[in-house]
């Protein structure tokens, strides 16, 4: 930091698991105080947009069985969450994998929609499952997101403070480190791919600071035991055979060009958006609560605010009674800071 000679300096990581590791192991306590490590839009549950939640809720309320990953169930749409719908009798199945959703569909003749959330790492599993063949009642409502374009949005924000990015090791296992080369060339900021152990994260941050200090905007791979330059080609091939990137909103962030993964036309027969007539009007008619309007998840995910800057954090918005998506998900910044404390001082217990 001294050699860089200016402060504060902000770098961004884009992965909930990185934030968990940083907060859980108290890594901010050993980092220079002037180095601000902020979490960007790295929580797939948090960036799933309100209309996408509404689509799943509308299907569930229309009597269709909906299977999905756990955290998303409690995230509010424009007026309701899947958990609210479930309380009123809708059939929601929580699964840990798309394979489990397919097994549920196979066990019954009734239609089942898999509400597919998650970044490219998770979308690969959805793609491979469709390619392997699914039972007739099974379809997919894709809310999958693609991370690299979201980094572009953060880098282009006029008031961004971010001077370097830490990229998530397991997403890069699929895409390869080279996927960030074009980004680095366009924006002139370094990207370091890092793993999830405390030393991996610290080594990644140290390399990132070296690149900032030396004004070398380039891609460095500090997680070579899982990440290669070109990534997992077999997984990429399956991902892009099934999905295409389109522009769409990320909750609280912005419209992200090419940020949403949607099923290609060849997969219309398993696309819930084409198989069902989804009516969102009744859900949108319910006005959003005043609390939801005060929620600063968007600023937090863009690196413009910390959870502690939000008036609701720890008061009206808690882990037991979350207002925003960042407090719902185990990968959301607010939830993680509630659990482990955000900036723990050495020798003190994190807030519980």
């Amino acid at each position: 930091m001294e050699q860089i000679g200016r402060e504060p300096l902000a770098v961004m990581h884009v992965c909930g698991s990185h934030e968990q590791a940083i907060a859980r192991f108290g890594l901010r306590a050993v980092l220079p105080p002037a180095l601000d490590v902020v979490m960007g839009p790295g929580c797939p549950v948090c960036v799933t947009d309100v209309p996408e939640i509404d689509e799943a809720v509308a299907l569930a309320q229309a009597g269709v069985r909906v299977a999905t990953y756990g955290d998303i169930v409690r995230v509010p749409g424009s007026s309701r969450s899947l958990a609210d719908a479930q309380a009123d009798g809708a059939r929601i199945e929580v699964v840990y994998s798309v394979t489990q959703a397919v097994e549920l569909a196979r066990a019954s003749d009734e239609p089942l929609v898999f509400f597919a959330t998650g970044f490219e790492t998770t979308a690969v599993a959805t793609a491979a499952t469709l390619l392997a063949g699914t039972p007739p009642g099974f379809s997919v409502l894709s809310a999958h997101k693609y991370i690299p374009p979201a980094m572009e949005i953060v880098a282009e924000m006029p008031d961004t403070r971010v001077e370097g990015f830490l990229a998530a090791g397991h997403a890069a296992t699929i895409t390869g480190a080279d996927v960030f080369e074009a980004f680095v060339a366009r924006h002139g900021v370094p990207v370091v791919v890092a793993g999830f152990e405390p030393l991996d994260v610290l080594a990644g941050l140290a390399r990132l600071l070296e690149l900032v200090r030396d004004r070398r905007p380039e891609v460095a791979n500090m997680y070579p035991r899982c990440v290669t330059r070109t990534g997992n080609r077999a997984a990429q091939e399956q991902l892009w055979r099934v999905f295409r990137p389109i522009g769409g909103c990320w909750r609280g962030i912005a419209h992200v060009p090419n940020g949403n993964l949607r099923l290609r036309d060849e997969w219309a027969h398993v696309d819930a958006r084409r198989r069902f007539d989804i009516d969102l009007a009744p859900l949108r008619a319910g006005a959003p609560s005043g609390l939801l309007r005060q929620c600063r998840c968007g600023d937090i995910m863009a690196g413009l605010a910390r959870p502690s800057d939000c008036a609701l954090f720890g008061k009206a918005c808690t882990a037991d009674s979350p207002v925003g998506a960042c407090m719902v998900s185990s990968e959301g910044t607010c939830r993680i800071w509630t659990q482990y404390g955000g900036h723990p001082d050495l020798g003190t217990e994190p807030a519980r």
Binding site: Y69, Y96, S97, L131, R225, R233
Partner: protein
């Protein structure tokens, strides 16, 4: 959701592998892993799919974090819960054998 979890391959049946995660055996799909996998190999898994074979020389450092986590974590530890979720993402064997 972007965390992968390592496990050791016990046996392989087509595109389905039985993988040992700290004593719990689950079935993991091999559709997208880009290298040949054999019993005894370690693979990195996410939502029930192996996404990479981990080479033997690198497995010890990779396992250390997870072992520390699962050993020390209390019930509501978020990172440990995500690891357990990833293990649960594997399918149960038809014969129900988890050991």
């Amino acid at each position: 959701m972007c965390l992968g979890v390592p496990g050791r391959v016990i046996e392989i049946d087509g595109l389905l592998a039985t993988v040992d995660f700290w004593g719990v055996r689950r079935q993991v799909r091999l559709d997208v892993v880009d290298e040949p996998v054999a019993p005894g190999d370690y693979v990195l898994n996410h939502v029930g799919f192996a996404i990479r074979r981990i080479h033997e020389s690198e497995i010890e450092t990779t396992l250390a974090l997870y072992e520390e986590l699962l050993g020390a974590a209390d019930e509501d530890d978020l990172l440990a819960a995500d690891v357990r979720g990833e293990v649960a993402a594997g399918g149960k064997r038809r014969d129900g054998d988890e050991r």
